[in-house]
Amino acid sequence: MHIAEGYLPPVQAAAWFAVSAPFVVHGSRALVRQVRRDPESKLLLGAAGAFTFALSALKIPSVTGSCSHPTGTGLGAALFRPPVMSVLGGIVLLFQAVLLAHGGLTTLGANIFSMAIVGPWVAYAVFVLVRRLGGSLEVGIFLAAGLGNLATYCVTSVQLALAFPDPATGLLGAVAKFGGIFAVTQIPLAISEGLLSVLVIRLLARI
């Protein structure tokens, strides 16, 4: 659910940077603290970032025929916690923009907000909530990954709607339009990501 380079008008692109910045700065501080406590964790964090990137290179067969990929943020957030995920996610989004032209630099702020901030926080909150309510690890992971993915998709739809409001019905109509067109791929994908994350956790639990 990357917003492509140049797709947002300049003021909005800048605004999303402003919204994301505090989260990324807070995450960087958390990361610097962690690294100071345990210098060796740099390599582990690097591995975590690379793993997140690699997850987004997983090609999930999707109903529309084309291939789509998971955001990986749900699993990441459950494993590494949201503040650190905002930095790692930011790094990954930057690399995706520069290495793959997937997303972009002007839209980095918006993409960080949807994928590296909202997705992970929603996933983490869902995970904690499910566990507190006595749900199993697997249910927690499924809902966290699935809803984290859905939250990312909703935020992206709103971001696009803000940039291109509907001529007749404004923001709401535009949210419906963008949401509708991406729902075809995103809702099955969110379920897929949930299922996949459960399978991964199952495999890892046994290892």
Binding site: I3, T106, L160, K177, V200
Partner: protein, 242 residues
Amino acid sequence: MTAHNGRWRLRHPGEKAFLAFGLLACAVALPTWPGAVLSGGTAAALLLGPARVSAVVLLRAARVPVLFVTTSAVPLLVAVQPSGGVSWNPNGAGEALTATGRALAALLCLLLFSATTPLSDVIPRLRRLGVPAAVTEVAGVTYRMIFLLVDSLRTVREAQAARLGYRSWRTAYRSLAGQAAAVFVRAFARARRLEEGLALRGYAGSLAVQVEPRRVSPGFVAATLALLAAVVVASLRLRGPS
């Protein structure tokens, strides 16, 4: 990546960032016609001309983002009525064209940067922009490991396909989970082994490396300034006094 053997490889990354991001700013901030067209066109001309990036490479790099941009433009063609019905948006074609044009121009500017600038030149220099060393160093390790992991991912997938892992939806899901788990295990095993391997080279917490000095060419910077000014002036002129 062509960035590592391109003609502009040894230029200071700051120069290239100034040029590419300057054009990117023009593409996004100036009116799409003619601002984005001029900036995008300039970026394309620079890529194919002085930077000598081949058209094949550019087309390959642009394929996926272009697909995405065009998909995102489809909703602009229609309007949603308060009743819930959908009708043609009379201004939709223009709006979609504007958004697509701006995005394509911006994409070319992004490629101007990424196809000429190796990230190895960029990541350590981010410190000078105030990014904490811990973050640049983690980014550096991430960069290195991405290639190792994406490579294993591809190989694991191929090995699974050979063992009929993608025969049906059910087997495909099992295979995908296996891929993710295998890569997860590999990522952290790699990190542990790398830690040991680097300890042998004296690693004690800092992953600092020596960055090759690159001289900023005043000529290049001046030419960039002139070019950006020309794009801005030409855009405003062509659009005419309003």
